[in-house]
């Protein structure tokens, strides 16, 4: 695990769907806000 509590979250920039549009999202867009980042395996499975 390279992630540790109380350490900076690894930065990223990814494309995806925001509302009804495709766009790029980066973690730093959320500076000043709480972020719940979650990963899930395999589309079409319950999260």
């Amino acid at each position: 695990m390279t992630v540790q509590v109380n350490s900076p979250a690894p930065a990223f920039e990814l494309s995806g769907v925001v509302g009804k549009k495709f766009q790029k999202v980066k973690l730093s867009d959320y500076k000043g806000k709480w972020v719940v980042l979650f990963f899930y395996p395999l589309d079409f499975t319950p999260i």
Binding site: L14, G16, V17, L27, K31, K33, F38, I47
Partner: protein
């Protein structure tokens, strides 16, 4: 996009594709043999610090209630006892350690 339009409908948060699996690797949730990510959840504070994370195996889903409870508790900046829920009392601040 078809998934969003036909099944997910009004998705109120961004849904991102970690196509190269770089991000799941960096966050330590990539199962290399399967090429898929574990169900990892990371709570990141307004300052960009990781404040909590949970990773469970593929077979069990998350508890949204628990995620919200943790964000609420972390956001208070106060001492929250085990099982604390919003509206419940905090623990008194710890006395300063004088080193004696």
């Amino acid at each position: 996009m078809a998934w969003v339009n036909q099944e997910l409908r009004e998705l109120t948060y961004p849904l991102l594709a970690d196509f190269t699996k770089q991000v799941s690797k960096e966050y330590g949730v990539l199962l290399e043999r399967l090429g898929a990510a574990l169900r990892g959840t990371f709570l990141i504070g307004p300052d960009g610090l990781v404040r909590a994370y949970m990773v469970q195996d593929l077979t069990v889903g998350r508890s949204v209630d628990e995620i919200l409870r943790l964000v609420s508790a972390l956001a208070t900046g106060k001492l929250c006892p085990a099982g604390w829920r919003p509206g419940e009392p905090f623990l008194p601040p710890l006395p300063k350690n004088t080193g004696e």
